[in-house]
C-alpha cells in the first residue's frame, strides 16, 4: 500500500519516538523505507505467528493458560513484542510493518480477509488482555475510545439482571462500572449470552471491555482491508511484490486434497468396506446415516460429498452414488435430477460459477456450521455427547483404556488429537508420523498403512509444491494459474446460489 509505493521516499524517523505504545490499533501505515528482504522476512514471521494463533485456537481452550503460554513463546521466538517485554521499539516496529504487509496479501478475497481478521483479532485480544489496567485505560484514551457507563441508579434497578447475565465472567460485582452500548457493538458477548440485553442495548461489565475494543478493532480492520483491496491494482503492477504477496496468501490454504489426481481410482462397491477401514469417524457417521436414511441434509451432503470427491470419486460416480441412495428414500429419480443433481455437479464445479470446491479440513468441520436437528455432519469428537461417543467407540472395538484416553483428549478439547489417537488404536501403530488436520489426510494415511497406498496416491506436503503439481495436472491446469484466490471468490458467489437450495429439502 502506501508504504510500498512510497518506497523511494526516505523517511528516517527516530524509531523510538514512533513506537512508544506497547499495543496499537494500526491506524497509520508505516512510512519508512524497507528492503525487500526485510519485507519478506517480516511477512513470513507474522504469517507463522498468525498460524500459531489459529492452531492454538483449535487445539487449546482459547484464553486458557496453555493458549496464553503458547502465544507468548511464539511471540518471543519470532521477535515480536511479548508480555514481559518492556520497551523494545524494534519489535514494535516489526509488529507494525508486518501487520501492514499481510494486509496487502490478505485483502484480496472475502475468504482471505475473514481468515486474516479472525487471527489478528485473536492476537489482539491476547495482547490487550496482557496489558496492565493502567495501560488499558491509556490505550482507550490514546485511541479515543469512549463508551457510556450507566448511572448508579440504573445499576441498582437492574441489579438482578446484571448479575445473572454475567456467567463466566468471574468476579463481576456491582462495584465496577457497567458500559451500555448498542448490541451491534458487542456481538461476541451477545452471541454467547454473556451480557444483559435490554431494548437493543448490551450492558457490559468493565471486565469485558475487551469485547467492545475488539469489536472496534474488527470493524476498523475490515474497513481498512476493503480499502486496501481497492488500491491493490497499483501494488500488483509491482513485479517484485506481486509474486511474494501471492505466495503469502496461498500458504493459507495448505495442502490440496481436492483429489483431482485420484479420479476413478475407487469403485462404488469399495465404499462400504473403505468406510469401515479407512474413513475417519466423521465420514463413517455420514456414510452410515446416508445408507440408513437414504438422505442427508445440506451440511452433510457438502461435507461427505466433497470428501468422496477428494478420495477420487468422479462426477459420474458421485451422481450415481447419491442417486442410488436418495431414490430409495423419499425422493424420486425425477426430483433427484432436478434438485439434488445440481448440488452435486456444483461440488464438482459444473454448475453455477463453476467453482471447484475443496474438501473440508478438520478445522472447518470442527469450527463452522455445527450440526442441528436432523444433521449428521460435524466432527464426532466435537459434536457428539461424550456418552454416545463412548458407546460408538466401544462398538467399534476400541479397548477400554483406549476409550478412556480418547475421552480424556476430548475433554481437553483436543479433538484432532483424539481422532488421531483413534487412528493409532485402530491401525495398530504406536505413533503415527503425521499430524492430523484433514479427513482426507486421515484416509490417505490409513490407506498407506493398509497397503492401499498404491491406489490412492498421496498428495504433496507443502503448499508450494502442491501449486507446482497442480500446474502439471493437464486439463484442470488451465484454471489453476488464475490463482487459488479467484477460485475462492467464485466459491463465495457460488455459495450465494446454493443458499436458495439449502432450505428447500
Amino acid at each position: 500500500m502506501q508504504f510500498a509505493s512510497r518506497k523511494k521516499k526516505l523517511v528516517s524517523n527516530p524509531k523510538t519516538e514512533l513506537y512508544t505504545e506497547p499495543l496499537q490499533f494500526y491506524g497509520q501505515p508505516p512510512l519508512e523505507n524497507i528492503s525487500l528482504s526485510e519485507f519478506e522476512a517480516f511477512a513470513v514471521d507474522r504469517l507463522r505467528l498468525l498460524k500459531t494463533v489459529e492452531n492454538s485456537g483449535v487445539s487449546m481452550v482459547k484464553r486458557g493458560d496453555d493458549y496464553k503460554k503458547k502465544l507468548e513463546s511464539e511471540l518471543k521466538a519470532l521477535d515480536f513484542p511479548y508480555r514481559e517485554d518492556v520497551e523494545e521499539p524494534e519489535k514494535r516496529r516489526k509488529d507494525h510493518i508486518s501487520h501492514f504487509i499481510l494486509r496487502l496479501a490478505y485483502c484480496q478475497t472475502e475468504d482471505l480477509r475473514r481468515w486474516f481478521i479472525q487471527q489478528e483479532v485473536d492476537l489482539f485480544r491476547h495482547r490487550f488482555k496482557g496489558l496492565s489496567p493502567k495501560q488499558k485505560l491509556e490505550f482507550l484514551h490514546k485511541n479515543n475510545l469512549q463508551y457510556n457507563t450507566i448511572s448508579g441508579e440504573e445499576k441498582e434497578q437492574l441489579k438482578n439482571e446484571l448479575l445473572n447475565s454475567s456467567h463466566g465472567v468471574s468476579g463481576v460485582s456491582l462495584e465496577h462500572d457497567f458500559y451500555k452500548v448498542p448490541f451491534q457493538d458487542a456481538l461476541d458477548l451477545v452471541r454467547t449470552r454473556k451480557v444483559y440485553l435490554k431494548e437493543g442495548y448490551a450492558y457490559i461489565p468493565q471486565s469485558e471491555i475487551v469485547a467492545i475494543v475488539l469489536n472496534d478493532f474488527r470493524t476498523r480492520l475490515s474497513k481498512a482491508l476493503a480499502l486496501t483491496a481497492r488500491s491493490l491494482p497499483a501494488v500488483h503492477s509491482d513485479e517484485r511484490l506481486q509474486p511474494l504477496l501471492n505466495h503469502l496468501s496461498h500458504s493459507y490454504f495448505g495442502q490440496d486434497y481436492s483429489g483431482q489426481k485420484n479420479v476413478g481410482k475407487i469403485s462404488l462397491e469399495q465404499i462400504d468396506s473403505l468406510a469401515g477401514k479407512s474413513f475417519p469417524l466423521c465420514m463413517r457417521q455420514l456414510h452410515k446415516a446416508l445408507r440408513e436414511n437414504h438422505h442427508l441434509r445440506y451440511g452433510g451432503r457438502m461435507q461427505y460429498g466433497l470428501f468422496l470427491k477428494g478420495i477420487g470419486l468422479s462426477l459420474e460416480q458421485a451422481l450415481q452414488f447419491w442417486k442410488m441412495e436418495f431414490i430409495q428414500g423419499k425422493v424420486d429419480a425425477d426430483k433427484f435430477d432436478k434438485a439434488f443433481a445440481y448440488n452435486i455437479r456444483h461440488m464438482f464445479g459444473k454448475e453455477g460459477k463453476r467453482a471447484d470446491y475443496t474438501p473440508y479440513s478438520c478445522m472447518k468441520v470442527i469450527l463452522s456450521n455445527p450440526p442441528s436437528q436432523g444433521d449428521y455432519h460435524g466432527c464426532p469428537f466435537r459434536h457428539s455427547d461424550p456418552e454416545l461417543l463412548k458407546q460408538k467407540l466401544q462398538f467399534y472395538k476400541v479397548s477400554p483404556s483406549g476409550v478412556n484416553q480418547i475421552l480424556e483428549l476430548v475433554k481437553g478439547m483436543h479433538y484432532q488429537l483424539a481422532c488421531q489417537k483413534y487412528f493409532e488404536l485402530t491401525h495398530n501403530v504406536e505413533d503415527s508420523a503425521f499430524s492430523l488436520s484433514h479427513p482426507n489426510q486421515y484416509f490417505i494415511e490409513s490407506q498407506k498403512l493398509l497397503g492401499g497406498g498404491k491406489d490412492v496416491k498421496r498428495e504433496t506436503e507443502t503448499p508450494q509444491r502442491s501449486q507446482e503439481n497442480s500446474a502439471a495436472k493437464g486439463p484442470a491446469a488451465a484454471r489453476e494459474p488464475a490463482a487459488v484466490e479467484s477460485q475462492h471468490l467464485a466459491e463465495m458467489t457460488a455459495n450465494l446460489e446454493t443458499d436458495f437450495l439449502k432450505t428447500d429439502f
Binding site: 440485553l197 435490554k198 450440526p371 442441528s372 455427547d385 471468490l489
Partner: protein
C-alpha cells in the same frame, strides 16, 4: 369448502384468478417500498419464483407495483420467495461486474419448522401437524416475539404462517434491515438454546446463574407445559417416552426416579417428583436445572439458524400459496395467537370459490360502475380492492394493513423528530 377440497391439480387454474383478483398487491408494494424514502429499495429487491414443475427463477426484480403485478399475472408463480435488496437491480445482475453485485439489506428473518421437533412430539412426524403440536409454534412465537422486542428493541415484527407446518418472522425495523451477517448470526445464536444434531441426546445444558432471557423464556413455557407436554403429548406416560425424558437427568437421579415411578403413574405427579428432585439435589455450590432443561428441550423454539444468518437468504413470501396444501401464507395476529388455527387458514380454492359465489352481486356493481363512466383501469382497480374483502382472506389483509400502518407511523415519527431537531437549532 374445507381445506380437504383443495386439489393440487387445480392449482394452475386457480393461480391466474388469485393473482388477477385477490393478491393484495397494493399492501405488498407498500410494505416493500418502506415509505419510498429510497426509491431503489423496491427496485433492487430480489424476488424468486417457483414455476410449474419446480422450475426456479431467481433474480427477478421490478421497477413499479404495476410491473410486479403484470409479471406475476403472466408467470403465475407456484411459490414466491423474497430475497435481499441488492446494490443493483437483480434482473441485471449478469451485466454488473462480478463482485460488485452485493446483497445490502434485508429484513431479519426467522424460520421455525415443525419437522425440527420430530424427536419431541409423538402426535405427528415430518410434514404433518395437528392442533396438539401446533402449540409448539405458539410457544415459539411468544418467546421470540418477547425477546426481539424487549431484548433487542425491535418493534415491527410480522409473523406469518408458512402455509404448511411452520411460521416465519420478518423483523422490518430499519435497524434490523441494516444488520450485518455477523450481527444476524449473533442474534440468532442468542435466541438458540437447543444445540446439537442426531448424535446428541441432551440438547440443552444450562449454566448457573440462569440468564434473564432464559428465565423469561421458561416462564412462557411454563404456561403451556402441563397441558401440552404432560397431558397432550403424555411425555411421562408410556414407557419409551419416560425413558427419553429420564435420559436427560443425571445418572444418580435417574435411578431414584425410576424407582419412584413404579408406584406413581400419574404424569403430573411424576413431573412433580422430577422437580422435587431437582430442588433436593441442589447444593449451594452447584445448582441443578435438569427440570428446566427438560422443559426447554421439549418446548423451546428450534430455529433454522442458516435462514437468519445470511443477508441474501431467500424466504417464502407472505401471501404466497403453499402448493401442497393450497393454504395462503397469511400474517398471524398475535392478539389472537392462542386462537390461531392453521387448519382454518383459507386455501386458494376456498377463496376463489367465495369469489365465484359472489358473482351475481358483483355483476350488478359492475354495471353500476360502468354507468359512472369511470376510467376503466380505475374500475378494475377498485373492484380488485373489493374482491379480497369478500373472501376469508379479508381479515388477514386487514391485519397486514394494521402492521403497515404501524410501520408508517415509525417513519413519520422519525421525520417529526428530525424536523424538531432542526427547529431547536
Amino acid at each position: 369448502m374445507s381445506s380437504s377440497d383443495y386439489d393440487p391439480a387445480c392449482l394452475p387454474d386457480l393461480l391466474p384468478l388469485y393473482y388477477r383478483r385477490l393478491f393484495p398487491f397494493a399492501q405488498y408494494y407498500r410494505w416493500l417500498s418502506y415509505g419510498g424514502v429510497q426509491k431503489s429499495y423496491f427496485q433492487n429487491r430480489e424476488f424468486s419464483f417457483t414455476l410449474k414443475d419446480d422450475i426456479y427463477v431467481r433474480y427477478q426484480s421490478f421497477s413499479t407495483q404495476n410491473e410486479l403485478e403484470k409479471e406475476m399475472q403472466k408467470m403465475n408463480p407456484y411459490k414466491i420467495d423474497i430475497g435481499a435488496v441488492y446494490s443493483h437491480r437483480p434482473n441485471q445482475h449478469n451485466t454488473v461486474k462480478s463482485g460488485s453485485f452485493q446483497a445490502l439489506e434485508k429484513e431479519l428473518v426467522f424460520d421455525i419448522d415443525m419437522t425440527d421437533y420430530d424427536d419431541v412430539r409423538s402426535c405427528c412426524s415430518a410434514a404433518d401437524i395437528c392442533s396438539k403440536c401446533w402449540t409448539l409454534m405458539t410457544i415459539a412465537i411468544r418467546i421470540l416475539n418477547r425477546a426481539l422486542r424487549d431484548d433487542f428493541g425491535f418493534q415491527h415484527l410480522l409473523w406469518v404462517y408458512s402455509g404448511r407446518r411452520g411460521v416465519h418472522c420478518w423483523v422490518c425495523d430499519e435497524a434490523a434491515r441494516k444488520l450485518s451477517a455477523a450481527a444476524r448470526s449473533a442474534v440468532a445464536e442468542y435466541l438458540s438454546l437447543v444445540k446439537g444434531g442426531e448424535e446428541n441426546v441432551k440438547k440443552i445444558v444450562l449454566t448457573d446463574p440462569i440468564h434473564p432471557f432464559i428465565g423469561e423464556s421458561l416462564s412462557v413455557v411454563e404456561d403451556y407445559f402441563t397441558r401440552y407436554a404432560l397431558q397432550e403429548q403424555d411425555i411421562l406416560g408410556r414407557r419409551e417416552s419416560v425413558d427419553k425424558v429420564l435420559a436427560l437427568v443425571p445418572e444418580d437421579v435417574r435411578r431414584e426416579l425410576q424407582q419412584f415411578f413404579q408406584n406413581e403413574r400419574n404424569p403430573e405427579k411424576r413431573w412433580k417428583l422430577i422437580k422435587d428432585q431437582a430442588r433436593a439435589k441442589q447444593t449451594t455450590a452447584k445448582k441443578r436445572h435438569f427440570d428446566k432443561e427438560i422443559m426447554l428441550q421439549y418446548c423451546y423454539p428450534r430455529l433454522d439458524i442458516n435462514v437468519s444468518k445470511g443477508v441474501n437468504h431467500l424466504l417464502k413470501s407472505p401471501f404466497s400459496v403453499h402448493p401442497k396444501t393450497g393454504r395462503i401464507s397469511v400474517p398471524i395476529d398475535l392478539k389472537d395467537l392462542d386462537k390461531f388455527d392453521p387448519f382454518a387458514v383459507p386455501t386458494i380454492s376456498l377463496i376463489c370459490e367465495e369469489l365465484d359465489r359472489l358473482k351475481p352481486e358483483e355483476e350488478q356493481t359492475k354495471s353500476e360502475d360502468s354507468k359512472e363512466k369511470e376510467n376503466e383501469k380505475d374500475t378494475a382497480e377498485k373492484r380488485k380492492n373489493r374482491d379480497y374483502k369478500r373472501t376469508s382472506l379479508a381479515k388477514y389483509v386487514k391485519h397486514f394493513d394494521q402492521f403497515l400502518d404501524g410501520l408508517a407511523r415509525s417513519w413519520k415519527g422519525e421525520l417529526l423528530r428530525k424536523s424538531d431537531l432542526q427547529k431547536e437549532f
